[in-house]
Symmetry: C2
């Protein structure tokens, strides 16, 4: 388990961990962490843990098949719920970035999704796996999962501040106000709106469009960062000098067993046909 740290006060490697706060101009669209979410009173909303991540690279988070958490509803009206999900896929890299996800009427989240048309997909690291499993084994009808499992709902930022918003169908005028899922065990939060309900009635299959993606800035996400320029590593999409923790994904084997990310094999030299996905 990684050491516990105070995200406010600890630096490390001589770099300010709140780089995006001290130097907001380097973040896309002058994003300020915890925007409008209570940061001004000295209380962190939890949002300052995350940095904008390129929407068109979301496949790097989802294609390996991690078990996910899904947040729906709204913090404002206390309808926010959280569930665990294993059935999902990338559908399209970009223009727009699309994800398929199975959420059925047996999930309380189904009603939320139907009503609001938006959700947040969070990628948990393996250190959070017990919580992830427990969240998937009870219903929001019966318990307040956030409180029961000590998971922090984080007010979501306006997707207009997301990295690469404007990619696709004009994310800026839209909103995905389902909360982020906070906590040091969360690798990323991906803001989605429902793009297509055509297969919901038949298969509970939702086509979601990504309008914002945010990555844990402590994440040692060696993959997914591509050929970032070194000087750009501090406060935009994580990685680089800020690499601190190796956060491994867990993949559900379908029967309660999970396999954790192991060795990495680099085949980029052989990917002659798909160079555009390596940037």
């Amino acid at each position: 388990m990684p050491r516990k740290r105070d995200s406010k006060n600890q630096g490390g490697d001589g770099l300010p961990l709140n780089a995006s706060k001290s130097n907001p101009d380097r973040a896309p669209k002058k994003f300020k962490p915890a925007l409008g979410s209570g940061d001004s009173d000295g209380q962190s909303s939890g949002l300052d843990q995350f940095l904008p991540y390129p929407i068109h690279k979301v496949n790097r988070l989802l294609e390996p098949g991690p078990v996910l958490l899904v947040a729906t509803g709204s913090l404002t009206n206390k309808t926010h719920n959280i569930m665990t999900m294993g059935f999902h896929m990338m559908i399209q890299h970009q223009r727009p970035t699309l994800i398929g996800a199975c959420i059925g009427p047996w999930d309380k989240s189904y009603d939320n999704l139907k009503k609001t048309g938006e959700c947040v997909l969070a990628v948990p690291a393996v250190e959070m796996l017990e919580t992830v499993v427990d969240i998937g084994n009870c219903s929001g009808e019966d318990v307040n999962k956030w409180e029961t499992f000590g998971v922090k709902p984080v007010p979501a930022p306006d997707p207009a501040f997301a990295y690469g918003s404007g990619d696709g169908k004009g994310a800026e005028e839209e909103r995905a106000r389902a909360p982020f899922i906070g906590g040091e065990g969360v690798i990323a939060n991906i803001q989605c709106v429902v793009e297509d309900r055509a297969l919901v009635a038949r298969y509970n299959l939702w086509v979601l469009r990504v309008i914002g993606a945010w990555i844990n800035k402590e994440m040692d996400l060696e993959y997914g960062q591509g050929n970032q320029t070194p000087g750009d590593a501090g406060d935009s999409v994580g990685g680089g000098e800020l690499r601190k923790r190796e956060m491994k994904m867990a993949h559900h084997r379908g029967d309660g067993r999970f396999v954790v990310d192991g060795q990495e094999v680099d085949m980029r030299d052989r990917m002659v046909k798909w160079k555009e996905f390596q940037d």
Copy 2:
């Protein structure tokens, strides 16, 4: 790398490797390996490498998110092609078992799938990863991938002989004659027919129905076998006493890097809500 072995002549652990041949009654529906595929002349078609696997457990192969190979077309008329695919998901466990897969017009396999409405999804083990990547980085328009990469197309058995056929919509009267993908690096072959084309035009998203699943009988598939009775391990769904090789899946990280299955974490005790998926 596992040692190379002759699947015809080696036993191991005192168990006959061709158990399903010597004791065909124990396999579902008296399945005979290499049925009608040239076994009688002493030449193995490659099919005897695989054992029937329960269709309703296919999620255990696909839910972790492995990179896949896809075979389409037909051996008979020499239209068989093979491609690599990273965008797929489980949609439904059973009744029927459904999979989503993205195959677009940029893939030669798209035309085959459109025409025949059937395909085979193969799960490759990491030892086959270089080949998997190379197959994904050229087109069947330009090369015969089977020959170029030394991958053996295996005549597919009648799905009526699959374990659990009859689950769903009467697999027996159907056919999925796209070839299996042979070779000791292949974990499983999953026979599919197209169930729904509703989202193909919009997103190249095919809903596939599984009509047969077959697992490498050498596979040390500790997971996916559930609580098999020990005496049943020899010739039906692999695992058990026959466990020989640990075959790890590879998960594409979206940019040419792959993460290989690592440590397993058993959370079955916490899966109180979904016991039916642990059998």
